[in-house]
Symmetry: C2
Subunit: 325 residues, 2 copies
């Protein structure tokens, strides 16, 4: 298995990616990694077994314009794409700008045949133990057609099926009500297509209110709403964790209370922490392309590497190609 890592992307720079890479390569002895980054990090990487350092010149900013990024051929991301193609790699991981990764992937790694628009997909926790659901699209697009939404439903369904070994995942459309007639104008049209689509198990509309309770397997949304859903979930979880901290700090009794219930509380916080999610896959392109969280630390980037490893092992891209033909 060959994986390319853009070592420079993300708010925290190469420190997090280097640590994660070192840990990852130690735990997976069937992997060869191409680590793309500036000469400054070369020293850290040479001599590590199964890691090949590839030098890049520039680093793209997180808020870079995607087309500007695409033209900067010496950036760590664009060099990573080149390395991906030249060495026939299986996966590419970056914690840099999503827009840049998306544009680079579409133009360099290319779409799978019949895919209209690639989409970002990832797993979310639920209140049920070990039960997750996936959301597609999380923001590769800022507006979508009904045909694209219908295809997101199919790709989300396949992703869930292969990752969680569940034959007939329940697909829902994110809407402003649970009734059949609800939805944005394009959502209402997509609803009809999805209802007719024999390749998915479409269950109808749902609301952000119900998503985390474990009865949904695949949540389909346009990239803009999906991004609102993702960031609102993340923000609310973070806000509640912060309020919880304050609640425990009130007085000596609540502090003891915290010590007594610490284990369960940490487990809950971990469950809702995006850093454990492991990044989002860009589905619909010719390779396992993973966007790690921009604010990745070692742990978070390590999760992204582990997810990419699993997806390559599952031969998810080959399965996508076959299904979308």
């Amino acid at each position: 298995m060959k994986i390319v890592i853009d070592m420079m992307g993300g708010d925290n720079g190469p420190k997090a990616t280097i640590n994660a890479l070192k840990l990852f390569i130690k735990e997976h002895n069937d992997v060869m990694v191409y680590a793309v980054g500036s000469s400054a990090i070369k020293e850290e990487l040479v001599g590590i077994d199964r890691v090949e350092f590839v030098e890049s010149q520039t680093v793209l900013k997180m808020d870079v314009d995607p087309m500007t990024a695409y033209r900067d051929e010496n950036s760590s991301l664009m060099v990573a794409c080149k390395v991906f193609n030249e060495n026939n790699c299986d996966a590419l991981i970056s914690a840099g700008s999503s827009g840049a990764l998306l544009t680079a992937s579409i133009f360099k790694i290319k779409r799978i045949k019949n895919v209209i628009r690639p989409a970002f997909i990832t797993s979310f926790p639920t209140i049920k133990k070990d039960k997750k659901f996936v959301v597609c699209d999380l923001g590769a697009n800022n507006a979508n057609t009904k045909e694209e939404l219908d295809q997101f439903a199919m790709m989300g369904s396949l992703y869930y099926k292969f990752l969680y070994k569940e034959n007939n995942p329940r697909v829902y459309l994110l809407s402003n009500g649970t009734e059949d007639g609800k939805g944005s104008p394009v959502g209402k049209e997509a609803f009809k297509l999805m209802k007719e689509n024999k390749l998915i198990n479409f269950k109808g509309n749902t609301e952000g209110r119900d998503a985390l309770f474990g009865d949904i397997d695949v949540l389909v949304c346009d990239g803009f709403s999906g991004n609102v859903f993702l960031k609102t979930t993340e923000g609310t979880a973070k806000a509640m964790s912060s309020m919880l901290k304050d609640a425990f700090k009130r007085n000596i009794f609540s502090k003891i209370g915290y010590l007594l219930s610490k284990k369960g509380i940490s487990e809950m916080k971990n469950k809702m922490d995006y850093k454990n999610v492991g990044g989002a896959m860009l589905v619909g392109v010719n390779g396992v392309v993973i966007k790690a969280h921009g604010n990745s630390d070692d742990k978070s980037f390590m999760s992204a590497l582990t997810v990419s490893y699993t997806l390559v092992q599952e031969q998810i891209v080959e399965k996508f190609k076959k299904a979308l033909e």
Copy 2:
């Protein structure tokens, strides 16, 4: 002050509204209430000082089609609108279908001059003590134009200003990134209008991730995204409260831990509980129209009544009219 209450709306029927009304009227001796409902509840209401019972025949379902609702002139909602107009009332409260309330309000209570589309607005908690922010539109619309979004910014700003006595509220647009160029296609256009708008203090784009942290006063969004934001916040808070409960139930130590930290934890839960929010105001129509939560209990409906009382006292509709001219 004259308030009309649709006693029959909501999932829990008139039980919650009757209890709330009794409590509310006792606490506010400058209010006269028209209580509209079926003959079955008449007995409960006659004899209460400053409450006039008005009989209606039918009750609209929560998932009623808005135009069907509008045509049902004997429903508690439509009779309430009639009573509102005939008695020159100040406020109307219903826990029934939002769509029906919206349609009835637009046709019967009518829009304020220059308002393109009314919008639902309400206050949200933040991690900062006593600091709230407002969101507009929460779902009166399922798609909006740039001009409508710009007007939501103005109405949201006025609402915040009058309710929280803050002269220059910070207005943000809900987007898929914080950079200026981000947004849905219509959001990008609205951004330009809002930037030019001298009547608001526009600060740029924001994400659902940052909204609950206290640095935003007014969050502007199209009705579909706003509804996703509302329900995702609600769902995530509910999911985390449920996980928290499980965490405390783990063993005898965590149970004692809960008892010791109970007070702070309950305060946090209360803060994030939609039932304390007091419903959403339909801004842009000729009266204080409040949609109480469909799942209102006594406490929740009482909050809605209290909010409507404050808004009438603030003469918010008069102020809106003046500002939008």
